[in-house]
């Protein structure tokens, strides 16, 4: 086939020309001059020592809502929840990272005066987020039951470990929330860690190294809140949303629940192996670790070819040969693969897989397989990767109090009303005048 014809075919394959598509997508990157979805929506964030609430508020703020973070004069204790105590002028790193487009107001709901102001604010708000013990706000006279009288359109989001109803919620109402307890209670910790045969404590349940519990809870709170706003737009009615962080993981992925039911037992921990797909995990390379996914039979065959392991194909040919229920057996295959991967650097492995995939995608015979290999970058490497630079995944800020720093942002690209981060600053009470003038002057 001539060069020109080949090129033409590529264009046909993508429906419109590549350039056209790239141009359209490139235009989409920039949020400049585009409207914001939640323009005019007012969100009160009264969460206290709980990042689920702060995260939910961030998501609303990124979509353009006016988010007012309410904290006592000494500040929300969340300011001090940070890896190894790292902070900038008394503000911890997660708090900086989530200080997206927010207003900061000092107001103490524990005092009668604070509650009077709070009531006035809530009368004008669309969404309220709080993480106090279940029933606490209600006993102060500023719960959903009371606030919805004056403002029937209020979307009231409450986040606690065990929720707002049921006997257990009542019994555990004073139990504070944290990420690790959310992970443990919702089935995540039980499914990470080495298998039984490993020595203690490696065979214990294990915590995922990021705030999975809190981020799931924050995301689900925002998702529920966004749906409630859609309903409000149609009916002018608000509602109450009850988030239980002890449900976070099990409700998101479902596995603990339906495996617990259909198997009538808990899964054992499998260490580095997966339950459904194999090979699907991490292997050592000469200079680090790589992720390898080649679970479908044709992907697996391709992997064996590029690792020059074809001689073992006969033993491991089908998915059912590679089921991970016999640990010794799958460890053996793990070792066979590892003996080859350590011979190459991560980049060499990626190149091998990519070259094969391109060849197999171009071949008429579609059974070629796509072995996928990817290296695990350090944060410093990821931040300079041109792919993320072009996509503006990381955004740099320079605040007079917080100095220079980078946050992961722009994680949803939308052509009409993209979310965006406009500023980051989080001085205690920095917007007191603005908020009091705008919402509390009458």
């Amino acid at each position: 086939m001539s060069k020109g014809k080949e090129k033409e075919q590529v264009l046909v394959r993508y429906g419109i020309s590549r350039r056209e598509r790239e141009k359209f997508l490139a235009n989409m990157i920039s949020p400049e001059g585009k409207p914001e979805v939640l323009d005019g929506v007012v969100v009160l964030d009264a969460s206290y020592a709980n990042f689920s609430g702060i995260i939910a508020a961030s998501l609303f703020a990124e979509f353009g809502a006016e988010v007012i973070k309410i904290e006592p004069t000494e500040g929300d204790p969340s300011r001090k929840i940070t890896p190894y105590g790292a902070n900038v002028n008394g503000v911890g790193i997660p708090f900086i990272m989530e200080a997206r487009n927010k207003r900061y107001l000092t107001l103490d709901v524990r005092t009668a005066k604070g509650r009077r102001d709070f009531e006035k604010l809530a009368a004008k708000a669309d969404v309220l987020i709080e993480t106090f013990p279940a029933g606490q706000m209600d006993s102060w006279g500023i719960g959903y039951r009371q606030l919805s009288q004056a403002n029937p359109g209020l979307v009231y989001i409450a986040i606690t470990p065990y929720g707002q109803y049921t006997d257990k919620a009542k019994e555990f109402r004073n139990l504070p929330d944290s990420d690790i307890t959310s992970q443990a209670a919702s089935g995540l910790a039980a499914n990470i860690g080495d298998p039984d045969i490993s020595p203690e404590p490696y065979n214990w349940p294990f915590r995922a190294g990021a705030w999975i519990g809190w981020y799931i809870s924050g995301l689900e709170a925002a998702l529920g809140g966004a749906m409630a706003l859609v309903y409000k737009e149609a009916t002018d009615e608000g509602q109450m949303i009850d988030v239980a962080t002890a449900d976070a993981y099990a409700s998101l992925v479902g596995y603990p629940v339906f495996i617990g039911y259909t198997w009538e037992k808990a899964r054992p921990r499998l260490g580095r192996h997966d339950f459904t797909l194999y090979p699907y995990g991490f292997w050592k390379s000469k200079d680090g670790i790589v992720a390898i996914a080649a679970p479908r039979d044709h992907d697996f065959r391709a992997l064996l070819k590029i690792l020059k392991l074809w001689k073992i194909e006969d033993d491991w040919r089908f998915t059912f040969d590679r089921i991970t229920d016999i640990l010794e057996q799958i460890e053996k295959l793990y070792g066979l693969i590892e003996a080859e991967t350590v011979k190459y650097t991560s980049d060499e492995l990626i190149k091998k897989a990519l070259e094969y995939s391109i060849k197999s995608a171009r071949s008429k015979w579609r059974g070629g397989g796509v072995p996928i290999i990817m290296k695990v970058p350090k944060p410093s490497e990821a931040m300079i990767n041109p792919h993320w630079t072009i996509r503006k995944t990381f955004q740099e800020f320079d605040d007079k109090k917080l100095g220079k720093f980078v946050i992961p942002a722009n994680f949803i690209k939308m052509s009409e009303s993209p979310p965006r981060v406009k500023w980051i600053s989080c001085d205690i009470g920095q917007d007191n005048d603005y908020i009091r003038k705008k919402y509390l002057s009458d």
Binding site: D177, I180, A208, G209, I241, D247, L277, P386, V406, P419
Partner: protein
């Protein structure tokens, strides 16, 4: 005044869910996506009332129909597939044939949302990309899901949840430092979390359309969604140090960890604030600790955190787990027992709350699946039916939605424009089920030519 918990019990009563309105009533979703990342976004809309049409290739079907644990099918189906696909209409149309495409384009005219998660550009190549579908219906909201997104040098790289976990760096945080132990996040969290982010984007886009009448295109990269939740980039930019694997603890809280109690159970314990630290110190009978470490930042420094970790571990190992939970309730510091799959599936609290649902399905009978962690009091989500065999809703949709007659449908079947299952588990009905008598699969409705 009525007791708060009596009030909330009525407000959220799970037995009243069926009587409550649905927020996405009347919203139509076209779901071209497969495996988990895309389908879960469409399913979240289905859970809250949208009508979702799941499009699959005849006689092939979604890859995840075969995504089963340790090779075990349940009633000839995959349990995970049920969770990702409940409340959907299963339409099996061959997009490669012009007639199949015609059907889809007709559906697009009336659809509100489209979801796909092929490799970047593939949907365009098949004639169902945003550039083509927005010509047919400019108000369409179109969500493209991919591991690396739709533009940028890595866009053609294929991906699974694992690759997103790698590329985002999520994996580099989970494991024991100083060993070769890395753990991936289990259960395809790298698909589910970004999928829920996709649902958030869709809901926001629907809200925007309600206000302005305009549809839009959404490009969601699952790696970016995972990067959004990692602190290590900001940490690096401020401290110039890379956050490494943190071990079985939370470095933002001290003490914190998962410990073994005297009765051999595992207990997660954490202290997030000074107040909670005081509470733990007094529960442990070591009040002087609270005076020793007054400042939160000080407490979190590695040397102090590791000392407190040892103290907490020692304390937990000498107590029964129930004792610790009681002390935590009484004094006020975060504690939770580690719950495994079986405990969660059978947890009374979850069943009462509705976050674990015992569902009776017409085809699969009893099934237990999770409800949401965020309960909505007025427009709650609900399960109406589980997933169905390949092409199960063909006849129903073609008759009620397209108003085709029996003869026209038979012709489409003969031309293989639409199709069904073969004998493989995962795409066929359960053995005990008499599909010939199924009123939906064999939909007899008038299907005449009258307009909808």
């Amino acid at each position: 005044m009525e007791d708060y918990f009596d009030y909330t019990k009525k407000l959220f009563d799970p037995s009243k869910i069926k009587e409550k309105p649905e927020v996405f009533n009347g919203i139509k979703v076209l779901d071209f996506s497969h495996v988990i990342f895309g389908p879960i976004a469409a399913r979240l809309l289905a859970q809250y009332g949208a009508e979702v049409f799941k499009i699959e290739m005849p006689f092939v079907g979604d890859l995840w129909r075969f995504g089963v644990y340790w090779g075990k099918f349940w009633k000839h189906s995959s349990v995970c597939f049920h969770f990702v696909h409940y409340n959907k209409n299963f339409l099996s149309v061959n997009l490669k044939l012009p007639k199949g495409k015609e059907l889809i384009y007709k559906l697009v005219e009336q659809a509100d949302v489209v979801v796909e998660n092929f490799a970047a550009g593939t949907a365009e190549a098949w004639g169902v990309g945003y550039s083509q579908l927005s010509e047919i219906n400019p108000k369409i909201i179109y969500l493209s899901c991919a591991t690396y997104g739709q533009y940028g040098p890595l866009r053609f790289f294929p991906g699974w949840d694992l690759l997103a976990q790698a590329a985002s760096g999520a994996i580099s945080l989970t494991g024991y430092p100083g060993t070769d132990k890395y753990y991936k996040l289990p259960d395809y969290l790298g698909d589910y979390f970004p999928g829920n982010v996709g649902a958030l984007a869709l809901v926001m886009a629907l809200y925007h359309r309600k206000k302005t009448g305009r549809g839009q295109y959404i490009d969601l990269a699952q790696s970016e969604a995972l990067m959004r939740i990692l602190p290590n980039f900001t940490y690096f930019s401020i401290t110039n140090e890379e956050l490494e694997r943190v071990g079985n603890t939370d470095p933002t809280m001290a003490p914190s960890g998962i410990f073994k109690s005297r009765d051999g159970k595992f207990v997660a314990l954490a202290v997030a604030t000074e107040e909670q630290f005081k509470a733990l110190s007094s529960a442990m009978g070591q009040k002087k600790l609270a005076t020793e470490y007054k400042d939160g930042f000080e407490r979190l420094k590695p040397e102090n955190a590791s000392r407190l970790y040892d103290i907490a571990q020692e304390w937990v190992s000498k107590k029964e787990s129930a004792e610790i939970v009681n002390l935590a309730k009484e004094h006020g510091f975060p504690v939770a027992e580690v719950m495994d799959d079986f405990q969660i599936a059978n947890d009374e609290w979850r069943r009462e709350r509705g976050s674990v649902i015992v569902f009776k399905d017409d085809m699969y009978r009893e099934f237990v699946l999770p409800g949401p962690s965020a309960m909505l009091s007025k427009t709650p989500g609900r399960v109406k039916w589980l997933s169905r065999p390949l092409g199960y809703h063909n006849r129903y949709v073609l008759k009620t939605f397209f108003r085709l007659s029996e003869e026209e449908i038979k012709k489409l079947e003969k031309e293989r424009v639409i199709g069904y299952w073969d004998d493989r588990p995962g795409i066929k009905p359960p053995v005990y089920y008499d599909i010939e008598k199924d009123p939906v699969f064999n939909y007899q409705g008038d299907g005449g030519k009258q307009s909808p």
